[in-house]
């Protein structure tokens, strides 16, 4: 890792300060969708993020473990053979199903990997919007106990 270490420079985050005192909007391209993350069922999340029907597709690859030793960290990876505009990851049995969503530009490859929390064993949905249409994949991920449980 050492040889790969970059000189990571930190800015005074003028941007953040400006955002905090309301001089500019927090994000210009895609504003954080508080509503989508607050919804409590899959269908409500679909409605808010504009999914009105999605089918499984071989163009979509969703990689996640069958078994997660701990629900606190569940690695997920989504990719597509079609250019993606948006990817969303939903956990059916979490109190708020939408875990994360990603917005891509024409330069972004249709690929994302992240780590999410799962409250319990649940189906996990990966949704990809490509060419204006949504497709999806679903996987059941078992959340187990790894250690003594004491």
């Amino acid at each position: 890792m050492d040889h790969q270490r970059r000189e990571v420079m930190r800015f005074a985050t003028v941007f953040g300060l400006m955002a905090s005192i309301g001089l500019i909007a927090p994000a210009q391209a895609e504003e954080w969708s508080r509503a989508a993350f607050a919804e409590k069922s899959l269908d409500e999340v679909f409605r808010v993020i504009g999914v009105n029907g999605a089918d499984t597709s071989s163009a979509l690859t969703f990689t996640a473990p069958e078994i997660a030793e701990n629900g606190a960290v569940v690695p997920v990876m989504v990719s597509s053979s079609l250019r993606a505009e948006q990817i969303a990851i939903l956990v059916e049995k979490n109190p708020n199903p939408l875990a994360a969503q990603f917005f891509f530009t024409a330069r972004t490859e249709p690929f994302v990997a992240a780590r999410i929390k799962m409250a319990e064993t649940s189906r996990v949905y990966a949704l990809v919007k490509a060419e204006g249409k949504w497709m999806m994949a679903v996987k059941e991920i078992k959340v187990t106990l790894g250690g003594c449980g004491g």
């Binding site: 078994i67 003594c148 449980g149």
Partner: protein, 229 residues
């Protein structure tokens, strides 16, 4: 209910007649042990003395919550099983028998004569590994932590392998008086059959109460329990 923290000396828990016979036997065995230990100490000359070792433990550990320092006072079973060289020695083998007898003699059958409880509650007890640590209050009932070491209901995939699989336990063994008594005894005091078993003595140290042991018995032996599907 509070955990009984102080190690119980087995000798005090068995009938006077057996004590008399056993004390003599044990004294003989222990004398042999001491001779053996002195010999092995000279042989390797690296083993710390008990005084040194206990002083090290004393300055390194402190009481925290229910985890009091008295927990470091070993009973005869723990003292034997802390010495792997001794267990496999000639003197050790004799002590092993005595320790098993003493543990067996200390087991109490259920006071209401009921051996088989509710398997559903038993499953919950088998799942929970809580209790007995310095982070526990001692007010809540402990779990049995059975899945930590055993496969039980096959639907639970997160099971340990330190102990044997208990899947179909009752289906394979039936519910004869011998099987029921053996199972009760094994949960109550596993050291009755294997002096240095890794399994805690759940009844002996009051880690589980009578009701909880009955419920675990149900999980293992009730024909309706999913374990016996």
């Amino acid at each position: 209910m509070k955990l009984n923290l102080k190690p119980i000396h087995l000798i005090q828990r068995i009938s006077p007649r057996i004590v008399k016979r056993m004390t003599l036997n044990m004294l003989f065995a222990l004398t042999l042990n001491v001779i053996f230990m002195l010999f092995s100490m000279n042989a390797t000359s690296q083993e710390p003395s008990d005084a040194e070792f206990n002083a090290m433990l004393k300055r390194s550990l402190r009481a925290e919550g229910i985890a009091v320092m008295e927990r470091m006072e070993q009973d005869a079973t723990q003292a034997l099983c802390s010495d792997p060289a001794l267990i496999h020695s000639q003197a050790g083998k004799q002590t092993v028998d005595l320790i098993q007898q003493a543990n067996l003699a200390s087991i109490k059958p259920p006071s209401d004569g009921i051996y088989i409880g509710d398997w559903r509650r038993g499953e919950a007890i088998a799942q929970s590994g809580r209790g007995g640590t310095w982070a526990d209050s001692g007010k809540e009932r402990s779990g049995g932590g059975c899945y930590n070491c055993h496969q039980i209901d096959r639907k639970e995939i997160a099971y340990g392998t330190l102990g044997p699989s208990l899947w179909n336990y009752g289906k394979q063994r039936g519910d004869s008086k011998e099987v029921v008594t053996y199972t009760w005894n094994k949960i109550y005091n596993a050291k009755a059959y294997q002096a240095c078993s890794s399994m805690p003595r759940f009844g002996h140290f009051h880690l589980l109460n009578q009701q909880q042991i009955q419920d675990l018995m149900g999980l293992l032996l009730d024909p309706r329990s999913p374990v016996n599907e």
